[in-house]
Point group: C2
Chain length 345, copies 2
């Protein structure tokens, strides 16, 4: 299975309003709720691709209860849809024909996400995305998250070690830290994964990323700003090399409309879709992480992992619902992704 | 006891952000949650004044559970503070000296609010007030509320009739209707109260107010816009007379900074505080309703009820927390409220 860690999980609310006018009152036309936080978003994409995925992190309070109920309901729907054949390799993929999937953890359909969240006393945070229907733009409000006690953090570490012994193919550490969790938390979790012999992907920013790098994760996935922030270098390839020197074995940087850049110990590649895509970039980074993880779990060559990440990212930008990916676009994009060797400038 | 009805109760969230910029992402610096919806706000003010108050309406889902837990916690705090002597008559009031309170339902301190909300399947709505700390202004987002089934509405009517038989001095029907509740709901509830011999105050707007008026409530409390909306007359005294002709026995109109206008079968009065007040008007209307109800429960003369409503309203505008009232301001304002006879223009 694939394991994703979301220490600051969220109940994501989306409010649709006809027109957002600051300092006035609005009737919300439509409310949607779903499990949120980067690791949970990644798991949803992996589940849709047919990979068995377990999520851990913290959940608490009534918001945590709602989040877990939604996760269970998603799982029920996912299992019910397994006949739809939403496998990674379906009809697409470099060197892979329709129906040739069946790699680690896939069953050729969507898979339920297993809930291994750890209960805490404080309530899970909410995020509110206010969609202005007149422009399509979103205004985002993110609560800070519950305070995690030292005992709760220790409890999580015990649960995490237990999960790593249950046949994890790859683990992803995703997102911000809630108050109370040590800033070096990801460094600790990277070391635990390495001790257990489980490949580890880190997707966070700022000081938690800086500290996590020093623990030598197998892969980090910063965006251009995050990469520049920790390396002081705006040029992506130079910055990725700098992140490698700081400890990452490989660096996959998402560069927005310019696609992605991947630097490993075997080489460097850049990849992009051949067309500019209009749409909503929310969740594109999480879909890229899901693409990388799926390729890691199936032990594909690096360029194929990168192609999946780029195609899933593009299919997410094009999806009508923020954070979902459009399967048709994914199937169409995957064979068209151009992967090229990247030269040091 | 005083009974307040809130058919569309809410979990009120307040988010403080340093500066609200539409179409960007914000970290919320501080989150507060409290029970909301007009009738629950009215009950909180009545409880602080020492009046025994029961709240009914609908609650459901995890948000409803949170709302009820907060209500119970408020009650615990309220009882603990009873030594502080937050009685209505404390040190103030036309013709009333310090310590002379002890009217119906008061004990001279704060009183717990009794929860008689009716459980429904749909989740209680949230409202989100986003406070921009750079300006102090609030952007309000109100969810529509749960869908109420015909069976749930019938269940509420049965519970409401039962409550009206339990020694209710006055009942207030407050706020908007959730989806599924008949638009004539307030007319039905007014008739039930009249059948039970319980005086009834109606505070709503639009079609529910229009229909409710026809059932002859004892008192309605529209603001200037609501009054103009149902009567087609912008001049307040003329509009209040028109609302009387449509069925209200008395009309108390809140006119913002101009105070309030009261028209009854005995006469007409206007009242205001002698100074212009800067502050946050959120909840001022609900505090006015609490002032009117407390005066009705104690069978005070109409001008004193009006004075209480105006003083509580002003003390709410001046309070540091939106929707709370400032006790010191209330004590200072009450004797200074100028009540004058109002002439037909």
């Amino acid at each position: 299975m694939i394991l994703t860690v979301t220490l600051n999980a969220a109940l994501d609310l989306t409010y649709r309003v006809p027109h957002l006018v600051p300092h006035s009152s609005h009737r919300v036309r439509e409310v949607t709720e779903r499990p949120g936080g980067k690791g949970l978003n990644v798991a949803r994409v992996l589940g849709a691709l047919g990979f068995r995925t377990t999520v851990t992190g913290f959940a608490g309070g009534e918001t945590g209860r709602t989040l877990r109920a939604l996760l269970a309901a998603d799982g029920d729907r996912g299992s019910g849809e397994s006949g739809e054949g939403r496998g990674v390799g379906k009809g697409a993929g470099p060197g892979r024909g329709a129906g040739t999937d069946g790699g680690a953890g896939t069953d050729g359909g969507s898979a339920a996400v297993t809930d291994a969240l750890v209960e805490v006393a404080g309530p899970t945070r909410r995020t509110v995305g206010v969609v202005d229907e007149s422009t399509g733009d979103t205004t985002q409000l993110n609560e800070p998250g519950p305070h995690i006690s030292p005992e709760e953090w220790e409890g999580f570490l015990t649960a995490y070690r237990g999960l790593l012994e249950q046949g994890v193919e790859v683990v992803a550490l995703c997102g911000s830290l809630p108050p109370g969790v040590p800033v070096g938390a990801y460094a600790t979790l990277v070391r635990e994964a390495r001790t257990a012999g489980v490949p580890v992907l880190l997707d966070t920013s700022g000081e938690p990323l800086r500290r996590g790098l020093a623990a030598r994760p197998d892969l980090v996935k910063p965006n251009a700003d995050e990469l520049a922030g920790i390396t002081g270098t705006a040029e992506p390839l130079r910055a990725a090399r700098a992140a490698q020197r700081r400890g990452a074995r490989a660096v996959a940087a998402s560069l927005g409309a310019d696609g992605m850049l991947l630097v490993t110990q075997d080489g460097a590649w850049s990849a992009a879709v051949p067309e500019r895509l209009a749409g909503n970039p929310t969740g594109a980074g999480d879909s890229a992480v899901a693409g990388l993880l799926s390729g890691l779990a199936e032990d594909l060559p690096w360029p194929e992992r990168l192609a999946r990440a780029v195609a899933l990212s593009a299919a997410t930008v094009r999806a009508p619902v923020a954070g979902e990916f459009d399967e048709q676009t994914y199937a169409r994009m995957l064979p068209s992704v151009r992967v090229r060797g990247a030269e040091t400038p």
